[in-house]
């Protein structure tokens, strides 16, 4: 298996660009890591850690009128985990909640398939570039890290919306 099928150019570019990275005051009223504070309506935040490699990401999602208004993140980790957070930012912002759920489900199905499920670019967009990751079992968690955080953050945001 070629290493380039894992590290597609798009992934390496996203890993550097880190679109949507940075949780500052302008993107919401919850400070990073303030899990203990009172929930803010329409805002959810989740911190996820991969204990194997120490990669971590915090994702904050703002939901209104049944859609993801904003998805910002902050984290550190390998190129796969950082690129997948960057790609997620581009895909999720502006997506309806139903569309977002479908996106996360399709991404997870592809990654867990050990190469059996082909990426559907119609649904996954740039996230289709992670197709090769599904053949590297040890890296699936890296790719899922931000998405699991986003799923959790969106669930909180919906509950408070």
């Amino acid at each position: 298996m070629s290493l380039d099928s894992l590290y597609q150019q798009l992934i390496l570019e996203h890993a550097k660009a880190r679109h949507g990275s940075g949780l500052d005051a302008s993107t919401g009223s919850v400070a990073p890591g303030s899990a203990g504070e009172l929930p803010v309506p329409g805002v959810g935040q989740s911190h996820q850690l991969n204990p194997v490699c120490g990669d971590e990401v915090t994702v904050r999602v703002e939901v209104s009128d049944g859609a993801i208004r904003s998805l910002r993140w902050e984290g550190q980790g390998c190129s796969i985990s950082m690129a997948s957070a960057s790609v997620l930012h581009g895909l999720a912002e502006g997506a309806g909640l139903g569309e977002f759920d479908e996106l996360v489900a399709a991404f997870r199905d592809m990654l867990r398939s050990r190469g059996a499920v082909q990426a559907d670019p119609e649904v996954l967009g740039d996230a289709a570039a992670f197709e090769g990751v599904s053949r590297y079992a040890a890296r699936v968690k890296c790719a899922m890290l931000a998405w699991v955080a986003a799923e959790d953050a969106a669930r909180q945001a919906r509950a408070e919306d």
Partner: protein, 447 residues
């Protein structure tokens, strides 16, 4: 504190294994002769677990084919053969580390061995509170005001059990810090280890830095304080000649799988009088003398700590493993790995954008050189990506925090990559690894 520096010529009186001998050794290890990802396997992850020679694999199979029975019970011939082989194995592994057979307890691995000591000390505390056990056992009890000392570079297996012991007994956990480079601050050890210290637990060899601890100095401080010494010999027992009696430690732990034996077997050494004073860790069959419905009396060590049916085939294979190592010569293995460690350190330190952790090339810490491992950080490339790239070139390394998060945090890292050699590692393999490492930053577009 004055450190006596031993000239390196005296450290290794015997010559290092040479390339031709290593080639012969490799023929004994079936797993090494394979390709991964289209390249010959370069296995540089022996610090995590070693590969196994045919003699070890065969000893386990031979046991199951010829002698399989439960030990220390049953009056039949196979039970006799199994018990003899099991106890012969104990004697072999005990001799390998310079102690008596009845001072060596079988455990699943080193982690379980540390837990055995820590949890049995917690139990001693409960026994003392409830008036159970003799004066020797009561002396082992811990409480508020007592201190347990570790170092900042410990593997989690030699840290968390002590955190839990402190929590259970009300004792305080303290640690000897390391400096910015990761070197133990011996000048602080004298103030950390004091009259309140009851236990001093530390790694003989760092699994991240490849350094050898100043055992003599730390033991002297512990003795002055009247504290017990627990040595984590996980990364030393496989790689250098170990004489636990000469090191004057009270307990020591090591794992078989890092030293050519199968997984599932490790050992605890304990000074005889301490093992006999320590309450049992796991209780049940095979470790008692008399049992009533109300209570039980326990056997002396080592059986006191070996409840339930034992890891018989693994123990026998462990003996085959130390036999292989002893036959090859631990001093020769140590000298060979020191050369490989130096080659790794030189190659890594000389690379742009790569930070070698631990002693620099040719450097000695606490009067000792690096063993055959080197961990490093590649600027701009996460350890996971480094490992993945190396794997694509057939090179197996370890990535992550190597179960030493506090040390990594102290070094300003969350993860690193580690290459670790063993007696079967060739000079060419180190060079293949270094060549591949030199290409990593370009592949990820940071050089």
């Amino acid at each position: 504190m004055a450190l006596v520096k031993t000239p390196s010529t005296l450290q290794h009186a015997q010559p290092a294994l040479d390339d031709a001998e290593v080639e012969r050794i490799r023929n004994d290890f079936p797993a090494l002769a394979q390709e991964v990802n289209g390249h010959p396997l370069v296995y540089l992850d022996s610090g995590a677990t070693s590969q196994k020679p045919r003699s070890v694999l065969e000893s386990e199979q031979e046991f199951y084919e010829q002698r399989n029975a439960a030990v220390h019970r049953g009056a039949h011939e196979l039970a006799v053969r199994a018990t003899e082989a099991f106890e012969d194995a104990r004697a072999a592994v005990a001799a390998f580390v310079g102690v008596d057979p009845d001072e060596l307890v079988w455990t699943s691995n080193a982690t379980e061995a540390v837990n055995l000591v820590a949890q049995s000390l917690a139990t001693a505390t409960v026994w003392a509170e409830r008036g159970r056990g003799g004066a020797e056992t009561r002396r082992l009890a811990l409480g508020p005001g007592d201190e347990i000392v570790v170092t900042e570079l410990e593997h989690h297996a030699n840290l968390i059990p002590w955190q839990e012991l402190a929590f259970r007994t009300g004792a305080t956990l303290r640690w000897i810090p390391v400096d910015d480079a990761g070197r133990l601050r011996l000048e602080d050890a004298a103030s950390v280890i004091g009259p309140r210290t009851r236990v001093v637990a530390f790694a003989h060899t760092s699994n991240v830095l490849g350094t050898v601890a100043p055992v003599g100095e730390l033991v002297a401080l512990a003795r002055r304080a009247g504290a017990l010494v627990v040595l984590d010999a996980c990364q030393s027992a496989p790689h250098l000649a170990l004489d636990l009696r000469a090191l004057d430690v009270d307990f020591a732990v090591f794992s078989g799988h890092k030293m050519l034996a199968p997984t599932g077997i490790g050992a605890l050494y304990g000074r005889r009088e301490l093992l006999d004073a320590l309450p049992p860790f796991l209780v049940g069959g095979s470790m008692i003398t008399t049992v009533t419905m109300e209570r039980a009396e326990y056997l002396p060590a080592p059986q006191r700590f070996e409840a339930g049916t034992q890891r018989i085939s693994q123990a026998i294979a462990f003996a085959a493993a130390v036999d292989y190592l002893a036959h090859t010569g631990m001093d020769r293995i140590h000298a060979r790995e020191a050369q490989l460690g130096e080659r790794l350190a030189e190659g890594i330190a000389g690379m742009d954008g790569v930070r070698l952790l631990g002693p620099g090339p040719g450097e000695e810490w606490h009067g000792k050189g690096r063993i055959g491992l080197a961990a490093f950080d590649v600027d701009g490339v996460h350890a996971h990506d480094v490992g993945q790239y190396l794997d694509s070139r057939g090179v197996a390394v370890r990535v992550g925090h190597h179960c030493a998060q506090p040390l990594h945090r102290r070094l300003g890292l969350t993860a690193s990559t580690r290459a670790s050699a063993y007696l079967y590692t060739t000079t060419e393999e180190v060079d293949v690894f270094l060549d591949a490492l030199a290409d990593v930053r370009a592949y990820f577009g940071v050089a």
